[in-house]
Amino acid sequence: MSTVNRETPRPAAGRAGIKKELPDHFKDYRHVWVFIELERGHVHSVSFELLGEGRKLADKLEVQLAGVVLGPPGEAIGNAIAEAFAYGADIVYIVEAPLLADYRNEPYTKAMTDLVATHKPEILLLGATTLGRDLAGSVATTLQTGLTADCTELDVDTDGSLAATRPTFGGSLLCTIYTLNYRPQMATVRPRVMPMPQRADKPVGRVIQHKLSITEDEIVTKVLGFLPDSQSATANLAYADVVVAGGLGLGAAENLQLVKNLARAIGAEYGCSRPLVQKGWVSADRQIGQTGKTIRPKLYIAAGISGAIQHRVGVEGADLIVAINADPNAPIFDFAHLGIVTDAIRFLPALTEAFTRRLSPHNRDKLAS
């Protein structure tokens, strides 16, 4: 949560003294909550990823893991409840009301803050989606508590505090942030940053209903319509099995074609690092990294990408990272599995050609037999 003036990294020893005794009125805050993001009938998969993390935190703290489902009455909310249990929740809180049909800040903030005030969780996790970020900022401000955005690692300290680690300084360093004297301790995590946990069919457990204390008349903002994204407009990057990406080492916008050619040859999605989006070479939905998409493919090929932390945290979940970079000291070689020090512009066509030969129909038939 670094902002304006938090510029000087301070030694841990100097900051440890800040911890005071938790104020009495926060002492009965217990259990770990995960917001189950239900929009237009579907649960966002980041919610399951968070249940996996939440389970670990709850087990360490020896407390319960709860899912929080907000939505309109219907089949979808029932499914969301069942899935929350299947992914590890011990208990589910729901607020069911027709006016929660579309996401709007006012009723969702009201529902969440009322739930928190009544049932008092010590930790509240949300997905860092457009919905989750819009909601989390309002909820934290209403509750006057700390919120750490876009965490890449969550843990419990020896004293039971949530240790939330996130990139800082534009993604060049990591920092660990605590909310020591306020509750709940809130954090958001971006989709795909945490691994998807195992799903296990389980009977639906305890479900606690809570009434929504706001009426349509009190809500100013009205939804006039919704236009879903066309399939082609949404890059399916986050969930692709194979990804090829280019960075500044490509030198010029037209060399992005070399990345696209390799991607096409191996049936991959293509992406890029942040500078290419800032230069306007590639649209923002293709950006890979802390402020773009986080990916977890089986194979990731990075061409001409130096590998700043902001990029690294977005690709570390890949099974196999291959780096092509002309600079032997590029940080990407510190976390890639396979590296090659060479000019990506020259090498990409050769690699595309190699794959095309190997994967040609002729060889494919041999593979199949």
């Binding site: 949560m1 902002t3 304006v4 003036n5 990294p9 301070r10 800040i18 993001e37 929009e39 800040n105 006012e106 457009t130 919905l131 900022g137 934290a140 401000t141 006057q144 508590t145 700390g146 534009g170 360093l173 920092c175 660990t176 942030i177 909310t179 020591l180 004297n181 903002t221 009205k222 939804v223 919704f226 236009l227 879903p228 994204d229 099995d241 194979v242 096409r264 049936g267 923002a284 194979l299 099974d319 291959v322 070689f333 976390f335 890639a336 599995h337 396979l338 590296g339 090659i340 020090v341 090498f347 050769a350 690699l351 050609e353 190699a354 794959f355 190997r358 994967l359 129909p361 593979l367």
Partner: protein
């Protein structure tokens, strides 16, 4: 129409380096810029003023050097600039930042007329939290419209605004009311070139410098480090993996042989991939 836009001066992140030995940020000589996401909000604010008349006040909180960012904003055509600067703000997290900014916006409103719209960028490129905008909206009781892709219409007489808002998997069309807080999505417009008059005006006109007291902030315990519920305990560079990347040697080999060797190394480590690639590629 009175529009307030909050901006932030940030280091140009493309140029930040970490010292290889001490693992600290090498800050010297890193140029500062207006947070790039804020420029979309600034342009939208200027367009609304040009269409509906009124004034654009640009506001930032930061050290004295943040005045540079405000002068740039004046150069683009903003009418007034306020720099909220005080040592009490040092160490602010997003909650303390949104507190100080909302107090300053209230003061701007008292002095120059209540704002109809408060703008902010989607997020900053250094903090990346996207929390300060919603925090200001909540504190000032403004309708919160984040990730706005387009302002479709404004009816000043009826105090009504219609926007297109990016949401998960699509675009919401929303009708809401003024006053509201809008965070603008990137790529929705392009910042103008300031006119010569604006450039001259920016050089001449003063940037208002407000302390906490000037902004009407009485409770200093809600500012800076003391007003921040979050505590940064540790800042560190991530550890390198135990083993570095296995390098494919390029010396004395043709490009073709090197490429074949890399491909073979990929398939050795992930044997199942060859099948998948062959059938995905649809050759």
């Amino acid at each position: 129409m009175h529009i307030v836009i909050c901006i932030k001066q940030v280091p140009d992140s493309a140029q930040i380096r970490v010292h290889p030995v001490t693992n600290t940020i090498m800050r010297q000589g890193v140029p500062t810029i207006i947070n790039p996401y804020d420029l979309f909000a600034l342009e939208e604010a200027l367009r609304l003023r040009d269409a509906y008349g009124g004034e654009v006040t640009v506001l930032t909180m930061g050290p004295p050097m943040a005045e540079d960012a405000l002068r740039k904003a004046l150069g683009y055509g903003a009418d007034r600039a306020v720099l909220l600067t005080d040592r009490y703000f040092a160490g602010s997290d997003t909650l303390a930042t949104s507190f100080a900014l909302s107090q300053a916006i209230a003061k701007v409103g008292e002095t120059y007329g209540a704002p109809d719209i408060v703008f902010a960028g989607k997020q900053t490129i250094d903090g990346d939290t996207a929390q300060v905008g919603p925090g200001i909206a909540k504190r000032l009781d403004l309708l919160q419209l984040t990730y706005v892709a387009k302002i479709a219409s404004i009816d000043l007489a009826a105090r009504e605004i219609k926007v297109e808002r990016r949401s998960e998997g699509g675009t919401q069309m929303l009708k809401s009311r003024l006053p509201c807080l809008i965070t603008m999505l990137e790529g929705t417009n392009e910042i103008r070139r300031g006119s010569i008059e604006d450039a001259l005006g920016a050089a001449r006109s003063g940037v208002l410098k407000w302390s906490a007291a000037d902004a009407g902030i009485e409770d200093l315990t809600r500012c800076g480090l003391r007003g921040s519920p979050t505590v940064v305990k540790r800042v560190f560079a991530p550890a390198a993996r135990a083993e570095k990347a296995v390098q494919i040697d390029t010396a004395e080999k043709t490009l073709r042989d090197t490429a074949d060797e890399l491909m073979a190394a990929i398939f050795t480590r992930q044997p199942a991939l060859e099948h998948e690639l062959a059938f995905n590629s649809g050759a």
